[in-house]
Amino acid sequence: MEIDTSPAQVKVIFTTTEPDLQLPESGQQLLVPGDIKRYGLSRILNSESMLNTSSPIPLDFLANGTFLRTSIEEYLSTNGLSSESTLTLQYVRSLIPPVYEASFEHDDWVGDVDVLSSTSPAGLGASVNDRIASASYDGLVRVWNPSGETVATSAAGRGGGHTLRLDAVKWLSPKQIASAGLDRKVVIWDYTESSDGFSGSLKPNMELWGHEKAINSLAVNGPAGRILTASSDGRIGLWSSSKKTAPQADPETLPSAHSSKKTKLSSAANTAQRGPLAMIAAHDEPVTAAVFHPNDNTVAYSASKDHTVKTIDLTTSREVSRLTTLHPILSAIALPGSLIAAGSSARHITLLDPRESAKSTVVMTLRGHVNMVSSLAPSPDNEYSLVSGSYDSTCRVWDLRSVHHGLEEGGGSVSEPVYTIGREWLKEKKLPAAGDGAKVLGVAWDATWGIVSGGEDKKVQINRGRGLFAS
């Protein structure tokens, strides 16, 4: 009998969840050499007998939920599995780095960005032009088309716009934009666009007054016509996006109640002023983020610098539960998988489980940023990835599946970024100290647009966002 010196053959079953990459029944079980790695497996699957793709699709392989980074043999030995056992490999499209695509120049720092496309929440299902709305520190909301041209710019303070810097902007619908900032009001803009798509206009529809301090973030639920605001005065505002349903503003909160003649004159009186549906005093310290539950628009999550994330029932305006972390939280999003990602000032992102039944509140800690995490955006494609923007001038893309168990504070497992997107003009350079001059202040991720981020460098930077992850 001939002695086989080559590595042992391992029986592998290939599975996938992607319908367009299904293997024929015959190819799902295979004997592969034990020393084969990701690239070899990908070659095998792309071969004629298997997928028979016209152009090779780079594939990644998940073994038992984690990416296969070593050879199959090593994987088996590290996991204590016999080489005779059958290994089930789930293959997914391999990730392509988020390549830089474009930058849109602004006059001042860009505080927030939001995208409109047929895949974005605001324009979902409708045939809309791809647009980006950016909120700049000069108080202007700008709408951009994909070629980097400003389609529309909001009015300045005298014209009913914002007088101070803007910290948040969101598309309510393809026709409406909400923006808010340091001047304590939310402005609902009516966005109209000429038929050629090269010019448009932003007209203030109404102003929402009620907060006493700066509004840090906005969350919108377009179908329900609800807006959530998080303000530095420790309150969460629930607003209606419709002029009709919105209640009248409390005159005490209007600027005209206190301001001198001059400011009275300067403020545009022709814009409707409305008040909040509810003003929920949930925190003692600035609320940095308030988001809707992804599926239930009567539940909101609020994150604050007082270290807590609270679940709030919007119908009763009551706090339902609270999660306490160790650090001030600067940003938060609700992931589709009922998790909350909270970006802290302690340079990491904490994944919190707000459910009552959860065993531990802190599910995972994402480490890698070297400065405060200022903004977060979930992946449009899947439930397990997100992008974060930080004051350290980078955006980082995280995959919650690639984890290792950490023993650091808060418990849970620890993950590291999959991709780090630097500012394009700082390419190949070292990260600036303290993110000086290049802090990322806002980030959005859309299937059409990709990863859109804006920051201190007065630029909105767009990076390719598709295919970063295989499902």
Binding site: L182, P255, K305, A433
Partner: protein, 741 residues
């Protein structure tokens, strides 16, 4: 009991007798054996001896008596006769003693010359040649004339020798036998003729036992018995030795040694030394080293120092010298001079002997690290600022001061460019106002109330109160109201006058700063007499104190914002005032001069305490929010922690900086404090104060924050803490502020 005792006693006696006998029999038997033989010889019959003893005595006595009587008979006839001497006195002339025949006085009948051992030639000029025993002159024998001589030559007498006897002066005559004897002596022969020095051996006694002895009598019994008489004598001697009457015999060498010891006295200086156990802990006093070759008066030449060695030795400090002497050579011992250092050397030796502790010290074997107080590691003391999170760029020139707003949302800064700027925490400048064109902005401090938004800034002699237009209308209105409240008071307030009625200049003038600044949000200005260096708010926000070190009498001023009133609480301060703060909870007021910090009670108007940090020049201080502790920074690079309850001296002194400490600041909520130094660094400390009086504050340095550049020897000029979070902001001379988190 008695009878056995008696018997025992008797037995003892008997035993002692026996022992005596035994002793005599053994020790003296051999010694007296000869005598025994003689005895046996003389005493032929022991029985008769015993019986005749008394008779013998009698016979002896009789004989003595007769001899004495015969002597009496001789004395009856005196052997002298009394004659008259020349003076008529009696003179006894004794008869010539006639020696008896057996007298051994061989010289008696010879009339010898008595002149003694002097040469006869002394008598050459005298007719006599000496004196006989009776003092009569011995006349020189007549020397015959030549004829007589001739005659005598013809008739040579028998035994003539031709010599003269020097004793008598007569011709010496010797017989033939005498001459023969002389000849024999001269030729070393045996003087006696016919003497055979080697006669034939006649064996009188032989070792051969005769078969037939001369006597067949058996050996007498006494030959085998020890002598009773000797035993008695021996017992007598033994008794005498026991009683000490006879001292035992000492061998001659021992006697000689004793004699020698008596003559020469030696003292053993170590005799009194206590015998110590041979133990590792005992250290005997060191004995002097025996002298070496180099101590000799005539040492071998290799021990003599060369010229260079001598010079080197003399140059050396006496304490450093290896030897206290230099070897020297002398021709003779008598040329050796006296040793000058003798007394000193003995003194030092004595000192060493009785002063030096000869005890091995039990060195405590303690790990020095275990003696250090248990400080928690910095990791456990998180959170505290560790990295720079934002850089605030915009100021031209140095940033001299920073301050966090009471809600923690805003940072105000002031610098050499005369501007006050307000920033948000992400580094964006939100508001700027140029309050001075020449003077740098020395201090900016927010009013510590959340219901207003008032920033006080100092440039030169002016205090500006500003409401940056960043807040809601209600808040801004409240702030403006607080600022404007005092305008009524200023007009109503009585103008203080001096004794002579002249208007006294008020300590400060309160006014509007001008329309341009008012439009920017700067609403009020107070001008004092001299340039202000520090400013501090009272916790309620109505009072603020300013310190202008150059202002002599009016160096410390307390301003009331609600009345637009300024007061000067101190007429005189010892030294230049440097900083002042209000107590966070009690009506106390702290004023730092260059070297001291004085604590005044504002209600009672009295001095409560004087703290002496021991620094040469205090740069600033801060009061702990609890009110019982104080940190002081000084230009001589020190940071001092004072516990007001403990002492007037600092509880802890920390030197972590290489340059002056410019500012110190407590965190208002967390157990943290920081200092800013000219070496471009900030030192963050964990300083936990517990309410327990028995426990002192725990102070742990946790982090050194570096990042500011040093510009013209100035580094970090000010530091402030976020009101709640562990974030601090620093103002650098490099024109930037940095937020650390």
């Amino acid at each position: 009991m008695a009878p056995p005792r008696l018997s025992k006693k008797r037995k003892d006696v008997a035993e002692s007798d026996e022992s005596d006998d035994g002793l005599a029999g053994t020790a003296l038997e051999g010694v007296l054996s000869d005598d025994e033989d003689n005895d046996s010889g003389s005493e032929s019959d022991p029985n008769s001896d015993d019986f005749n003893d008394p008779d013998d005595d009698d016979v002896g006595n009789d004989f003595d008596a007769t001899s004495i009587s015969s002597a009496d008979d001789d004395e009856s006839k005196p052997n002298y006769k009394v004659v008259k001497d020349a003076n008529g006195n009696e003179r006894y002339e004794y008869a010539e003693i006639d020696p008896v025949y057996d007298s051994d006085d061989s010289d008696a009948n010879e009339k010898g010359n008595t002149i003694g051992n002097i040469p006869l030639s002394f008598y050459d000029s005298y007719p006599h040649i000496g004196y006989d025993i009776n003092g009569k002159k011995i006349m020189r024998p007549a020397t015959g004339d030549a004829l007589d001589a001739l005659l005598e030559t013809i008739e040579i007498p028998k035994g003539w020798t031709g010599l003269t006897d020097p004793q008598t002066g007569k011709p010496l005559e010797l017989t033939r036998e005498q001459l023969e004897l002389l000849r024999r002596l001269q030729t070393s022969q045996i003087p006696e003729e016919n003497y055979d020095p080697y006669p034939d051996l006649i064996p009188y006694f032989t070792s051969i036992e005769e078969k037939m002895p001369l006597s067949s009598a058996p050996e007498p019994k006494r030959r085998f018995l020890p002598s009773k008489h000797e035993a008695k004598r021996v017992a007598k001697l033994v008794r005498a030795i026991k009683e000490g009457r006879i001292l035992p015999y000492k061998p001659p060498e021992e006697r000689e040694r004793e004699k020698g010891e008596e003559e020469e006295v030696h003292y053993d200086i170590w005799a009194n030394e206590e015998a110590q156990e041979r133990h590792i802990m005992n250290i005997p006093a060191p004995k002097l080293a025996p002298p070496g070759y180099d101590l000799s008066y005539n040492p071998p030449p290799e021990y003599l120092p060369t010229q260079e060695e001598k010079e080197a030795w003399e140059k050396m400090d006496p304490e450093e010298r290896e030897k206290e002497y230099l070897p020297a050579k002398f021709d003779a011992l008598r040329k050796v001079p006296g040793y000058g250092e003798f007394v000193k050397e003995r003194f030092e030796r004595s000192l060493d002997l009785y002063l030096a502790p000869r005890v091995r010290k039990n060195r405590l074997n303690i790990d020095p690290n275990s003696l250090l107080p248990k400080l928690p590691s910095p990791e456990e003391l998180k959170p505290f600022p560790t990295v720079c999170q934002a850089i605030f760029k915009g100021h031209e020139g140095r940033v001299r001061t920073v301050s966090f707003s009471p809600d923690g949302e805003w940072i105000a800064s002031g610098g050499d460019d005369g501007t006050v700027r307000v920033w948000s925490l992400n580094g964006h400048q939100e508001w700027v106002a140029r309050i001075s064109t020449e003077e740098p902005v020395q201090v900016v401090r927010w009013r510590p109330n959340k219901d207003t938004f008032i920033l006080a800034a100092v440039a030169g002699e002016d205090i500006f109160f500003a409401v940056p237009p960043l807040v809601s209308g209600a808040l801004e209105k409240a702030s403006r109201d607080v600022i404007d409240l005092g305008f009524g008071h200023a007009t109503n307030g009585a103008v203080p006058t001096t004794a002579d009625g002249a208007k006294k200049e008020p300590p400060a003038k309160w006014s509007r700063p001008g329309s341009k600044l008012e439009a920017a949000g700067v609403l009020l200005k107070a001008t004092v007499r001299s340039a202000i260096k520090t400013l501090s708010w009272h916790r309620r926000g109505d009072f603020l104190c300013t310190v202008s070190p150059t202002g002599q009498r009016s160096s410390v001023a307390v301003h009331t914002l609600s009345k637009h009133l300024s007061q000067i609480p101190f007429r005189r301060l010892p030294g230049l005032a440097q900083a002042a703060h209000f107590h966070p909870s009690r009506p106390y007021f702290f004023v730092a001069t260059q070297r001291m910090i004085r604590c005044y009670d504002l209600q009672r108007q009295e001095l409560v305490k004087i703290l002496q940090p021991g620094a040469r020049w205090i740069s600033g201080f801060d009061v702990h929010p609890g009110g019982d502790n104080l940190i002081v920074g000084s230009y001589d690079r020190r940071l001092l922690w004072h516990d007001l309850d403990l002492s007037t001296r600092p509880y802890k002194t920390m030197r972590f900086h290489t340059e002056a400490v410019r500012a110190v600041r407590y965190h208002r909520a967390l157990p943290l404090f920081a200092d800013a130094s000219d070496d471009g660094s900030l030192q963050i400390f964990h300083g936990k104060v517990v309410s327990d009086l028995m426990e002192n504050a725990t102070i742990v340095p946790v982090k050194m924050l570096r990042g500011h550049k040093i510009v013209s020897k100035l580094g970090v000029l000010d530091v402030d803490w976020h009101p709640r979070h562990p974030w601090c902001i620093s103002a650098g001379a490099d024109g930037t502020c940095r937020l650390w988190a």
